[in-house]
Amino acid sequence: MTNDFIIKCINSVVKTILIAEEEIEPLDRAIGDGDHYINIKRGSIAVQSIESELATLTPDQAFKKIGMTIMTSVGGASGPLFASFFLALAKEVSGESSLQQFSKGFTSGVESIMNRGKSKLGDKTMLDVLIPVSKKLESLANEGCEIQKLIKEIDLVAMAGVMTTKDMMPSKGRSAGLAERALGHIDPGAKTCQIIISTVCKELK
């Protein structure tokens, strides 16, 4: 994990988010309140705009800076959740951290999202992608799995996680008021996380 790689990922995530509007935005219009995509876009652009500053930092400092930037620019539900993820991740990684260290940080980031949002698996949220991904990532990293195999598996787990939200009843966020009416709809936060994870996986290929 180097800063060059983090910056490379940020740039391609921003690029992907910008072209994914048609994929994400209708999901939020269906069961949310229509601000999810706008917030994610604003956050990604804000993070991209500090690229030159990130280049001068160590990875842990960079993750912290990313977390603070998201915290002060995004708002909504996505802001504190993504910010908590990066702030917790920053505490677990150091210098040129190993995959194992990163996967531990990833899990700690996901736990921090669970605490901040008081949510768990099965609530029809981003966690339905993030929890399975963090578990898979940690076990593969501990096994010393070969990187190409790892990214392929992570990509699949993320994709499967998104699909599970389709048949869930919501209990968090603004779709919670909808109950049955949200059935059959994919959660926009879960979709966004899957897109980001898949993009980072591609960068590793």
């Binding site: 309140d33 601000d35 706008i38 002060t72 708002g75 909504g76 966020g173 909808l178």
Partner: protein, 334 residues
């Protein structure tokens, strides 16, 4: 989308600048980060801080002033403000008697205010408003939404804070008012978030959304439009059932505050027509309307529609509702 806009990104800031200029006898605007305070800050009283996504004006900036809020932190349209806004605002005010945050119960608002609350050094408490009766409580919900009842909470706690009430009394009163408020909304059309450029939801020309939220979130059901009296009948029933579930008796001789609130796309003639229909329903039920408010007080951008809020009074709430207030959008007694 057809709106008065210069640049989408500048929508809120352009509007806030105008608001602050138009009411420069009452408020002051801070730009980076964005927050609005009273022009003259009294650091000795409990500081009342609210905020939330923009698009509900006059909530909350329009309720800053003597007898109501001290600070409001507006976010982007329908998006909660970020913690740095609240932190900077309270640091500027340096309150000596603590801070009461008044926050509408939405995940984003709750989390951002929670982060701010953890990061500031001043003693603080939070009142979460959740007066929307549309969201039926079940194991599938995190709770009800905060809607137009919020302004009643702001007015009443604002009065107590103004006369020197301490933080815990303000918190207790705020929670009590919230518990005694119940609201339900109906949308006739969608709203359009400027940055999105298209309507938040699709609705047929002959359809209404019953139980809609103030962000155009879907409510309880989609149905065909019918005579106003019949729509109002359903709305009143939903509210009465909610009070029943809270075990609060609306026939109390103190009576209620009846707030008929427009979402901004419905003219006042229709709001008064709704008010009339509600009074007839309440007469049948022997519920006394002691105080009334009709107008656009908690809006949803350009959405057509309205909400009804009832707040069951007691002596203390009535006294604080009646006390003088001087804000840009609510003022009496001065």
């Amino acid at each position: 989308m057809k709106k008065f806009i210069n640049k989408t990104d500048d929508f809120i800031i352009d509007s806030l600048k105008g608001f602050a200029k138009a009411h420069d006898d009452i408020v002051a605007l801070n730009l980076d980060p964005i927050f609005v305070t009273r022009k003259e800050i009294n650091p000795n009283k409990v500081l009342l801080v609210s905020g939330g996504g923009s698009g509900h004006e006059p909530l909350h900036t329009g309720y800053i002033g003597k007898g109501m809020l001290d600070v409001a932190c507006p976010g982007h349209v329908f998006t909660s403000p970020t913690p740095d806004q609240m932190i900077a605002a309270v640091e500027k005010c340096q309150p000596k008697s603590g801070i009461l945050f008044i926050v509408k119960n939405y995940s984003g608002d709750v989390m951002n205010f929670e982060m701010a609350s953890e990061m500031i050094e001043f003693e603080n408490q939070t009142v979460l408003t959740n007066d929307d009766a549309a969201v039926i409580n079940s194991s599938y919900t995190t709770g009800r939404r905060g809607v137009a009842g919020t302004l009643i909470v702001e007015k009443v706690t604002g009065s107590l804070a103004e006369e020197g009430g301490d933080l815990s009394s303000c918190k207790e009163l705020g929670d009590r008012v919230n518990h005694r408020c119940s609201s339900i909304g109906v949308a006739l059309s969608s709203c359009t978030i400027p940055a999105a450029g298209k309507p938040t939801f699709d609705i047929g020309v002959d359809e209404i959304e019953f139980g809609v939220g103030i962000h155009g979130e879907p409510g309880r059901k989609r149905e065909k439009i019918k005579m106003a009296n019949h729509i109002v009948e359903d709305m009143v029933s939903a509210i009465l059932r909610d009070f029943d579930e809270k075990s609060l008796d609306l026939k109390d001789p103190n009576g209620i505050i009846l707030l008929v609130n427009g979402f901004a796309g419905t003219p006042s003639s229709e709001l008064y027509l709704i008010y009339q229909a509600v009074t007839e329903k309440l007469k049948e039920k022997q519920i006394q309307i002691s105080r009334s408010l009709v107008g656009n007080y908690t809006t949803a951008l350009d959405m057509a529609g309205a909400s009804i809020t009832m707040c069951l009074l007691d002596d203390e709430i009535k006294r604080h509702w009646d006390s003088s207030v001087l804000t840009s959008n609510l003022r009496w007694g001065y």
